[in-house]
Amino acid sequence: MALEKPEEKGYSNSEFSKVVSRFKKNHLAVLGLIIVIIIILGTIIGPYFSPHPPGKQNFDFLLAPPSTTYLMGTDSLGRDIFSRVLHGAQYTLLIGVGVVSLVAFIGTALGLVAGFYGGKVDFVIMRFVDMLLSIPALVLALGIAGALGGGLTNMIIAIGAVGWTQFARLVRGEVLKIKNNDYITAAKALGGRNSRIIIRHIIPNIIAPMIVFTTLYIPSAILWAAALSFLGLGVQPPTPEWGALIAEGRAFIHFAWWISTFPGIAIMLTVLGFNFLGDGLRDAFDPKMSKEI
């Protein structure tokens, strides 16, 4: 083992640099990365640059159109939309990361178990996945969020609870692909425990599709969360979450277009950034993967 290590390391280094160089050549992927970095920076330092406190009401400027004082206009309570959009970024990112962590955790665990052990366990898990998939995820998430009672945490749980199915399918498929490889058989023959084989040999070999899927899943999580908040079952007002901001503007769409328009653009740009990044990562890791994910 000790002799093999440097070679292994050298291989992974060159593989990694290949991935980086493929990624760099893809302009849209780089653009995606830049957008995502801007959004993350905006989340951290944005609130310090917001021209007004997000909850501050100014009754002299109710439904004011965009101007130099209020870059994106004000809402029905005279609150600055720009400041609210800036403060809202953190919720969107928190939701994206929260949901994806939950989905990746449940999906990986069940997918690994189903793929690795096979047989009855696999049958039961995958039939459960089939059943969940025949109920539209959004409908199920709405039902769970409603039953749990709305709010940020409950919304993350609701989306996570329905979103893991695709992840489990992907992980299971990847495990099945490598399960019969010689190195796994060798590890078994050496008497390795199943848990050790999964952690040491299976997970490291399926990590690339997992990273890609996680990145590609963030946009879906953000869009679902926005939809739930829009329907009144996610983050509640006055929290400046973007979906909730769009919902607030809906009643005023006839005379104050700016309330719903700007938070929508913010969601779109964020989702676009993650989509470009995810697509780019997929192509960079393995051009063949694009057909599977």
């Binding site: 025949s134 109920i135 539209p136 409908v139 926005a226 769409i253 676009l272």
Partner: protein, 312 residues
């Protein structure tokens, strides 16, 4: 083919039973619906009395069985708030949802297939780049926001289309106009996804030997594209269609809310917000059944297009 269809239909039954369990559990395991509905301001005696009235004090398996038997007879219980029959409420609204979903599906197909084919045939041209760029935008837009922006442009600014509601059947002119924005909102975002898939799948097929053979025997470009390439390239698209059907029904919930469309989706959102669990249970169940039936249709279509499936 008949044998395949029978096999496929039999496979659906356990899934339907599983779905009823999930739907029932969703409403009953996550908390006491009555306590949640009344909130904290009501005495526990009243809550207990209401629970007995609605049969919620019985053991869960018993409640589940009586609900299931009711569903089999077409009785889905009554709304806790209004006392109306859930089955009747669904019956009056299911048509509007189905109309919207089917038209949206038609738009998805009508937009994505031609753009996907042209993009593949004219790979790396301006058309290809533009359509792929726009596709990425469509995919990244929150659906309800797209609906609102359409309302803003065509309803408020130009005042060409009604901003909400269903103004009659689609074959009347008022009805037709009221269908345009909701069906575009529901149909365009998946079209972008389909277009990308059709493009990549066509490009793959173009590299196959049988396409080269077809070309070399002197067949015209159109015959090669439509008769040889499309039929093979369409297979992954049909798979995606099956996978996207639940999404379409989920999307209809959002679209119906944005456009105040009188379908099941809006009723569902209202019922969830008011915690009227018999309605929620009924609608989620019906939507799941519709998804299963549509998927069955897609599978049979798949077997029809690709004979290899039937003999697996």
């Amino acid at each position: 083919m008949l044998q395949y269809m029978v096999k496929r239909i039999l496979m659906v039954l356990p899934i339907i039973i599983g779905v009823t369990v999930i739907v029932f559990a969703l409403m009953h395991v996550t908390g006491d619906p009555i306590a949640l509905m009344f909130g904290s301001g009501v005495s526990s005696e009243m809550v207990a009395q209401r629970r007995t009235e609605l049969g919620l004090d019985r053991p869960l398996p018993q409640q589940y069985l009586s609900w299931l038997l009711g569903v089999l007879r077409g009785d889905m219980g009554r709304s806790i708030r209004t006392g109306d029959s859930v089955a009747n409420m669904i019956k009056t609204r299911i048509g509007a949802t189905l109309e919207l979903t089917i038209i949206a599906l038609f738009i998805t197909i009508a937009v994505s297939i031609p753009t996907g084919i042209i993009s593949a045939v004219k790979k790396y041209t301006v058309f290809d780049h533009l359509s792929r760029f726009f596709a990425m935008f469509w995919v990244s837009m929150p659906m309800f926001w797209l609906g609102l922006i359409l309302i803003l442009i065509f309803g408020v600014f130009f005042q060409w289309l009604p901003v909400s509601g269903r103004h009659g059947p689609i074959w009347t002119s008022a009805g037709f106009l009221s269908f345009i924005m909701p069906s575009l909102t529901l149909g365009l975002p998946p079209a972008a996804l389909f277009m990308r898939l059709i493009r990549s799948s066509m490009i793959d097929v173009f590299n196959e030997d049988y396409i080269r053979t077809a070309k070399s025997k002197g067949l015209s470009e159109n015959v090669v594209i439509y008769k040889h390439a499309l039929r093979n390239a369409i297979l992954p698209v049909v798979t995606l269609l099956g996978m996207r059907i639940p999404w379409l029904f989920g999307g209809s919930v959002i679209t119906e809310t944005v456009f105040s469309w009188p379908g099941m989706g809006r009723l569902l959102v209202d019922a969830i917000l008011k915690r009227d669990y018999p309605i929620v249970q009924g609608i989620v169940f019906i939507i799941a059944i519709l998804v299963i039936l549509f998927n069955l249709g897609v599978d049979i279509l798949y077997a029809y297009i690709d004979p290899r499936i039937r003999y697996d």
